[in-house]
Every structure is written in structure tokens, then in C-alpha cells.
């Protein structure tokens, strides 16, 4: 049993965990600053046409028709012989109709699977709301954790969450995967999930602190708690990943990116809950202790 063997000491090795996290996050941050995120029309505003032609069609043919409307700069994505996703600047309703009619007549018939139009105002509102939601959720969670546990654990948990958000944002930036409104939902869900994971460990620490033997070091209490909850951490992560992988492989294309974000987030969340949250809390406690010692000396 893992819990009895304890192959390594989580707290003593914490610098290694921090380095791993930094190695994963830093390239993402560099990418975020250099190339940013590939923002979809939900954020930038614009129009999206998800089309299914009646006969095999080439990208050039579609671009040719779009050029008649001054839309040769549109992004055209082909999946399969007849399926296309076209992204353009925002098209007014009559413009949209004209483009669709032209495509229908010149390329032998087309069915519109999805047609989206988002004004620039909506995109700005989405960004504002997303940031606000992130902030509000973080504050509420710190408050709850401070009430049920202690304030420093709340901060440690939020740092772990920040870690997960940065990992997701970084990977989406490096690979320039499109970000839409469902991405916001995915990030917020990961926050909920990751903190859920962290809390179960904190709960164990809270309990073990009650039965702490005299002279038992804090780092050992934390280490024991982490190993005691290890099976749960792994099993829960696995069951959620089962569902997400099934969705990633078999679910529709519409939520593909959302599921990908969730997958990355759940993995990162499992890591940060075990390897970051509690060690960071330990460092906070040590800082507090050192501060107290200094105060006592002076």
C-alpha cells in the first residue's frame, strides 16, 4: 500500500514540484505575451458560417465566392470533403444572406449547419464578465476556506488555481487553439474542480492536526495527509478523465475545445492540489514561524 510505504516526502522535495510547475507555466506565459490567445468571434466579434456542401468542394472555390464580397481574407477551415467553417468580419443580415445565396448557387447547393454573428460589444462584455467572474469566484472561495480552515490555506488554494488557469491559457496560446465562450465555462469549472481536490487534502490535514503527536513536525503531518488521500486523489482524477476522454474522442466538434480545456485543467488541477497547494501552505506557515521568532528575539 502506497500510504504505508510513502516512497518520497512531499514537503522535503517541494522545490522540485515548484520547478516542474514553473517549467510548464513559463513557456505558456511567454507565448501569451508574444502571440496571445487565438480569440474566436465570441470575443473579437465577427461572423461564422458552418457549411455542408452537397458536393466535394475545395477551399479555393469557397474563397473565390467570398472574394466577390470583399471577404478574401476570411479564415476557411475544411474538415472532410464537404464541411467548412468560415470565419469573417461581422456580416449584417442582408450581407450574410447574399453570401449564403452566392455559395449555394455557385457551388452546387449548401446547407447551413451553424451561423453565428457576434457584435464587438458582446465580445467586450464577455471578456469583462469572464474576468469579473474569475475575481468574484476567487474571493468567495478564499472567504469560505478562511472560515472553514484558515486564511493562509485559502491563499495557497488560490495560488494553486492560478497555476491551473495559467497552464490552460498557456497551452491554448502555444498551440493557438481557438478560445470561445465555452472556454470561459471550462476555466471556471476547473477552478471549482481543482479547489474541490485541494479541500479534501486540507480536510485531512485539519483532522490530522487535531491528533498531532507531541513533537511531530508540521511537514510530516502534511506529508502523511497527502499520502493518506493519495488513492482518492488519483481515483477521482481518473474517473473524471474517463468521462472527458470519452467526450474528447466521441463528442461533437462543437464542444471539442471545451472538453480539451477541461482535460488539461483536470490534470493540472490534480497536480496542483497535491504538489502545490499544501507545500505552499507549508512555506507560508514557515514564514509565519520565522516572523514570530524574529519578533521574539527583538
Amino acid at each position: 500500500m502506497l500510504r504505508d510505504k510513502k516512497p518520497f516526502h512531499f514537503i522535503k522535495l517541494r522545490k522540485i514540484w515548484y520547478v516542474i510547475s514553473i517549467l510548464v507555466i513559463v513557456p505558456g506565459i511567454i507565448s501569451l505575451f508574444s502571440q496571445g490567445l487565438n480569440l474566436g468571434i465570441d470575443f473579437r466579434g465577427g461572423s461564422l458560417l458552418d457549411l455542408k456542401f452537397n458536393q466535394p468542394t475545395a477551399v479555393e472555390q469557397v474563397r473565390g465566392v467570398l472574394a466577390d464580397f470583399g471577404l478574401e481574407g476570411a479564415s476557411i477551415q475544411r474538415s472532410g470533403e464537404t464541411d467548412f467553417i468560415v470565419r469573417t468580419k461581422e456580416l449584417a443580415e442582408d450581407e450574410n444572406l447574399a453570401v449564403l445565396q452566392a455559395l449555394d448557387q455557385k457551388l452546387g447547393g449548401v446547407a447551413v449547419q451553424r451561423n453565428e454573428r457576434v457584435g464587438p460589444v458582446i465580445g467586450q462584455e464577455l471578456i469583462r464578465k469572464a474576468l469579473l467572474a474569475l475575481g468574484v469566484a476567487s474571493v468567495l472561495m478564499v472567504v469560505y476556506i478562511a472560515w472553514r480552515f484558515e486564511f493562509k490555506q485559502g491563499i495557497a488554494a488560490i495560488i494553486a488555481i492560478l497555476h491551473d488557469v495559467l497552464v490552460i491559457l498557456g497551452i491554448f496560446s502555444i498551440f493557438q487553439i481557438e478560445v470561445d465562450s465555452t472556454f470561459v465555462a471550462a476555466v471556471l469549472t476547473i477552478i471549482g474542480y481543482s479547489i474541490n481536490d485541494t479541500i479534501v487534502i486540507f480536510d485531512r490535514i485539519r483532522e490530522n492536526m487535531l491528533y498531532r503527536k507531541k513533537g511531530e513536525a508540521l511537514e510530516d503531518v502534511i506529508n502523511n495527509s497527502l499520502w493518506q488521500t493519495m488513492a482518492r486523489s488519483i481515483n477521482t482524477g481518473l474517473t473524471v478523465i474517463f468521462v472527458l476522454v470519452a467526450f474528447f474522442l466521441m463528442g461533437g466538434a462543437t464542444i471539442h475545445n471545451m472538453v480539451l480545456a477541461l482535460l488539461i485543467g483536470v490534470s493540472s488541477g490534480a497536480y496542483s492540489s497535491i504538489f502545490n497547494a499544501s507545500p505552499i501552505w507549508y512555506d507560508f506557515k514557515k514564514m509565519e514561524e520565522r516572523g514570530r521568532l524574529k519578533g521574539a528575539k527583538a
Binding site: Q113, M141, S181, T182, N196, N235, V240, F242, V243, M250
Partner: protein
């Protein structure tokens, strides 16, 4: 063996199995509310349809007022009802936005163009000149005159009233044609000049007939310019395809969880699997009862909560194992395990609920749906883990069916 407990156990299994079959299979085609999984409302992304956000824009001749937005909403409702779709949604958002959702419609783009068309309604004189449009008509209501004859009362906007006064003066004894989309709907004769912009058309056979005409006239023109802020349409094929794929993916994911739980936790795993089925049925029932709209992200939220429901069981079983290792008997191990696991489950789920609540508050459309399914899922999962799993474990342990603690994962 304790036969009474075994019997109870068998009874519960049969009941759940029956409910499960009733939930998804059309066993009784005559019973309207069965199978109840079909009662769950599908969002636009699953059944196809259009979601559009309109915003009223200021123009020199008609600045946006809250009355005009309300009127525009009523008119859009009338226009939308013409499509005959089930449960169309027309909602005001903020001061000047109107959200419209139509499900299962064939040409959603056409519907959107129709919604924002400004003037269908025209008033023409005998020689065919348009003298007024619907924009200048303030209201049209049905009523009765002193002798009880049904009539329609028209009231024009101030600028319209002025023109109407001139037109009626010049056309006494002649008809004025009222056209909706170039079709004559009324052609009343002018009896006297009308200077104050308040006209009456009569007689009508009944108040109902007058009411219908009034609606037609009212819905004729938007009092304010509407612009499309956001539009999302999903064709019916794509929607059906998404639903189909999601169900298949969901079954595969669920199957993987069920197998894993039995392999790792053995007998308690089997109990957890059973509790998970109960959980899924309960959630579906609640979705159907509360008229929750299922969206694509909503399905993802439901499945994520399934993972969290398993988590509650995992936490309990890990504790249960520890108690067994510590030398407790099955019975006291179950109770001690649940007691100690509860705090962890409660605190961890509350934090996730906080995230879901924030998501609900700030999100729109499908994201709100996601938050709702996730929240319901979390609450129900806490309930089933703490009540159903516990009861079943006691029943299994109490029946003496399996006495080997190894089978309980110890």
C-alpha cells in the same frame, strides 16, 4: 444469511431497474410523461434553432424609450408566433436589449430578418400613394362604442396625426387602404376629417374580430430601430448529431467509471455503481420536473458531476477501508467511514457550488445551462452518496451475503 435484508436488497434493485427502463424506453406509449428522459427540454444547440440578441438603436425620429422597447417586444412576439414553434422565448435584457429564441425552425436566418424588419404596415389612399407607415401608428386597440358595436381604435404618433388630419380632410367619403406586407387588411371609408389622430374603425361582428385586427395593426411596425448584436443558429441536423454523439460518449464514459469502480473497490464499488445509476436517474427526474433546458455544455456539466458523485463514494470507501484496517467491524466501519468522510465531501462540494453559482450569475445561454446542471448534479450527488450508498452498504453487510472483509477492499 438474513433473508429479510436480502429480500429488501432484491426489492430495491428491481425497483431501480424498472425506473431505469421507464426512464429511457417507451414501454407504455400511451402514457404521456413516459419515458421521462424525453421530457427534458433540449436547448437550441441540440434541437436546432436560433438565439438572437437585438438591441434598440437611437434614431433621430425615434429615440429609444422603455415604452418603445416594450412595444417592440410585443410586436416581435406577434411576428414570432406566426412561425408556430413551440415555446418561443422573447425576453428583455437590460434597458434596450431583446433576446429571442426559437427552437426547431427551418430557416432561422429568415426568421431573424423578419424580426428586425421595420415597416410592414402602410396606409394608402385610393390613388395608391402611401401616406403613413406603421411607424407613425402609436397603438391599435379593440373596444365597443356606446351601442355595444365592436370597433378598433387607432391612435397615431403626433407627426402621424398631423398627416392623418390632412389625408382624412382630403378623402372624405373615400376609403383608406391599410396594407400589411402589401396585402390589404382593412379599407375603411373616411366619414369625417379626423384632426386629433384618434380614429375608429367599425363595425365588426364581434369583439374578438376587432381584437384580431388590432393585433395585426399593432404588430405592423417596430417603433424603434433594432440591430442584431448576436445571432447563433444551429441547423436541425447538426443539433441531432451533437445529441447523438454526446449520448454515446456519455455511455462510454459512464461504462468506464462503472468498470473501474468494481475493479478497484470490489463489493463497495458495485454498491457505488448502483448508487451512481440511482444518482443518474434522480438527476434526470429533476431535470424533467424543473424543466431544465439541456444544452451541449449542460451535458458536459452533468457528466462532470457524475465524476464528482463518484468522488464522494471514493472518499467514503477510502475512509471505510482505513477503518477496516484499523480493526473495526464491517458495521461500525461503515458508520465511522461515513462520518469522517462527510466533512470532506461537504466542504469540497460547497466550494465547487460557489464556482457554479458564479458561473450562473455571469453566464448567458448555454453557460447558464452548464452551471445549472453542474449545481443540481453536485447537490444530488451529495445526497445519494450519503444516503443511498450508506443504506445499501449496511444492507449488504447486514445480510451476511458477503462476510469476507477482503471483498470490501480491506
Amino acid at each position: 444469511m438474513k433473508w429479510d435484508k436480502l429480500l429488501k436488497l432484491a426489492g430495491i434493485i428491481v425497483i431501480v431497474a424498472v425506473v431505469a427502463v421507464l426512464a429511457v424506453k417507451p414501454v407504455f406509449p400511451d402514457v404521456k410523461w413516459l419515458p421521462f428522459a424525453k421530457l427534458i427540454k433540449q436547448g437550441l444547440d441540440l434541437q436546432g434553432g436560433v438565439h438572437v440578441v437585438l438591441e434598440a438603436q437611437d434614431t433621430p425620429e425615434s429615440p429609444v424609450t422603455s415604452d418603445r422597447v416594450k412595444q417592440a417586444m410585443a410586436i416581435i412576439e406577434n411576428r414570432v408566433n406566426a412561425y408556430g414553434v413551440a415555446e418561443p422565448i422573447v425576453q428583455q435584457q437590460g434597458d434596450r436589449r431583446i433576446i429571442v429564441e426559437l427552437a426547431g425552425i427551418n430557416d432561422p436566418d429568415e426568421a431573424v430578418r423578419n424580426m428586425i424588419k421595420t415597416a410592414y404596415l402602410e396606409f394608402k389612399t385610393e390613388d395608391g400613394t402611401t401616406v403613413l407607415t406603421g411607424r407613425q401608428l402609436k397603438t391599435a386597440t379593440e373596444g365597443t362604442d356606446q351601442s355595444g358595436v365592436a370597433e378598433v381604435n387607432l391612435e397615431f404618433e403626433p407627426d402621424g396625426a398631423k398627416i392623418f388630419a390632412e389625408v382624412t380632410k382630403a378623402n372624405v367619403g373615400k376609403p383608406i387602404y391599410i396594407l400589411l406586407d402589401n396585402q390589404v387588411i382593412q379599407a375603411p371609408n373616411v366619414q369625417t376629417p379626423i384632426p386629433d389622430g384618434k380614429a375608429r374603425i367599425s363595425p365588426y361582428a364581434s369583439l374578438e374580430e376587432a381584437h384580431n385586427v388590432a393585433i395585426l395593426l399593432r404588430s405592423g411596425a417596430l417603433p424603434v430601430k433594432l440591430e442584431v448584436m448576436e445571432k447563433r443558429t444551429v441547423g436541425p441536423t447538426l443539433g441531432a448529431d451533437s445529441l447523438d454523439k454526446s449520448i454515446k460518449a456519455g455511455i462510454a464514459g459512464l461504462a468506464a467509471i462503472l468498470v473501474f469502480m468494481v475493479l478497484y473497490y470490489r463489493l463497495p464499488g458495485l454498491v457505488a455503481d448502483f448508487a451512481l445509476v440511482v444518482y443518474a436517474l434522480l438527476v434526470l427526474l429533476i431535470f424533467a420536473a424543473l424543466h431544465v433546458t439541456m444544452t451541449l455544455p449542460g451535458i458536459a456539466g452533468f457528466l462532470l458531476s457524475l465524476g464528482m458523485a463518484v468522488d464522494a463514494n471514493v472518499i467514503i470507501f477510502e475512509r471505510f477501508r482505513e477503518e477496516l484496517w484499523a480493526g473495526k467491524t464491517l458495521r461500525s466501519g461503515i458508520d465511522a467511514g461515513f462520518k469522517r468522510a462527510f466533512v470532506a465531501i461537504f466542504d469540497s462540494n460547497v466550494t465547487t457550488l460557489i464556482a457554479a453559482a458564479v458561473l450562473y450569475y455571469f453566464g448567458t445561454g448555454p453557460i447558464k445551462g452548464f452551471a445549472v446542471t453542474l449545481s443540481i448534479g453536485i447537490l444530488v450527488s451529495m445526497f445519494t452518496a450519503i444516503t443511498v450508498t450508506r443504506y445499501l452498504l449496511h444492507l449488504v453487510a447486514g445480510s451476511n451475503l458477503v462476510r469476507n472483509v477482503k471483498m470490501y477492499g480491506a
